[in-house]
């Protein structure tokens, strides 16, 4: 199957690619800020290649720029990356990668690749979504980190092009098809509210973990209603 065919027939591939472009472009901001925080070109690029999790990387350079020690930077970066462990479990359950694929899948397990995969219904699409978004973001993020570290702020703020709006729209687009019936709407509403409440109280990245825990609790408490017939979708 060639790329053009996939782009025509696979919604997950299209979703993955558009997310990769919208997110990957932010590598410019990271590269520029990383260089401004006092790190060398190789150090900034190593963070993108090895840590590869936007929130964790911004936290790392943020702590350094704020005068913190490298150890504190690594601690903050690790805390913000904990949710990736939950994502790993979900991708493991969906795709069951083996051997080297499992090791590669772990590296590209991030918000975007997980969201693209879990939003698809069949197995082949889940895999296409995960790998397109994961590898796509990885390649672009690292390229753009290099560009940003070299060019500094000359390229301007990606926000001015609405790329942060593209990310919001992409995540809503992935959530939307899941919102059929009363329970998914309730879970989404509660988790959004929990996130808003947690943002000012907890370090970035942690509110997502709290929301995941709340959703898991709702799922666990209702686990015996598994065989209940699907609720009829209420007309909008």
């Amino acid at each position: 199957m060639n790329v053009r065919h996939l782009l025509r027939t696979s919604p997950a591939t299209r979703a993955g690619l558009s997310i990769a472009v919208a997110t990957g472009a932010y590598g410019v901001s990271f590269g520029a800020l990383g260089a401004a925080s006092g790190l060398g070109l190789l150090e900034v690029c190593a963070l993108s290649l090895l840590t590869f999790s936007g929130g964790s990387q911004f936290a790392f350079i943020g702590v350094l720029a704020g005068g913190g020690t490298p150890a504190a930077a690594a601690g903050a970066s690790t805390l913000l990356g904990l949710r990736n462990g939950v994502y790993g479990m979900q991708i493991n359950a969906l795709l069951r990668p083996r051997g080297w694929r499992r090791l590669a899948a772990a590296q590209v397990t991030i918000d975007e690749s997980t969201a693209t995969a879990v939003a698809q219904q069949d197995r082949a699409e889940q895999a296409r979504g995960f790998w397109t978004a994961g590898v796509g973001v990885f390649v672009l993020w690292n390229l753009m980190t290099l560009v940003g570290a070299l060019a500094g702020d000359a390229l301007g703020d990606p926000r001015q092009w609405g790329l942060d709006g593209a990310a919001v729209a992409a995540f809503v687009g992935l959530l939307w098809p899941r919102l059929r019936g009363r329970e998914p709407w309730a879970i989404a509403t509660i988790c959004a509210a929990v996130t808003v409440l947690c943002i000012p109280l907890l370090p970035p990245g942690v509110p997502i973990l709290v929301a995941a825990a709340v959703a898991a609790t709702i799922g666990w408490r209702g686990r015996n209603y598994d065989r209940r017939p699907e609720p009829v979708e209420v007309a909008r």
Binding site: G85, M89, T109, A119, G165, T195, A215
Partner: protein, 103 residues
Amino acid sequence: MTVWLWILGAGALAYLTKLSGFLVPQRVLESPAIIRVSACMTIGLLASLVTMNAVAAGQALALDARLLALGAAVVALLLRAPFLLVVVVGAAAAALGRLAGLP
């Protein structure tokens, strides 16, 4: 030199965190209760990601052009627009909002 050590350390910890989820045994993941919990978590994670991306600015809440993008994307979805168009509409709404002077 210590900076390099901590960069490598942060990279290793990030990778091990991601990998840990892949080491959960399949038979645990196959139980009906876990499948249900996982489906609920999926919705929770996506809803939380939408919220974080729409209103979080570090550890503060910020109302800015991203909310326009959220509204425009929802309208596009209600009109059954394809995914790519939803993303483009979101970006355009945020870009236009900033052009008009929104933060």
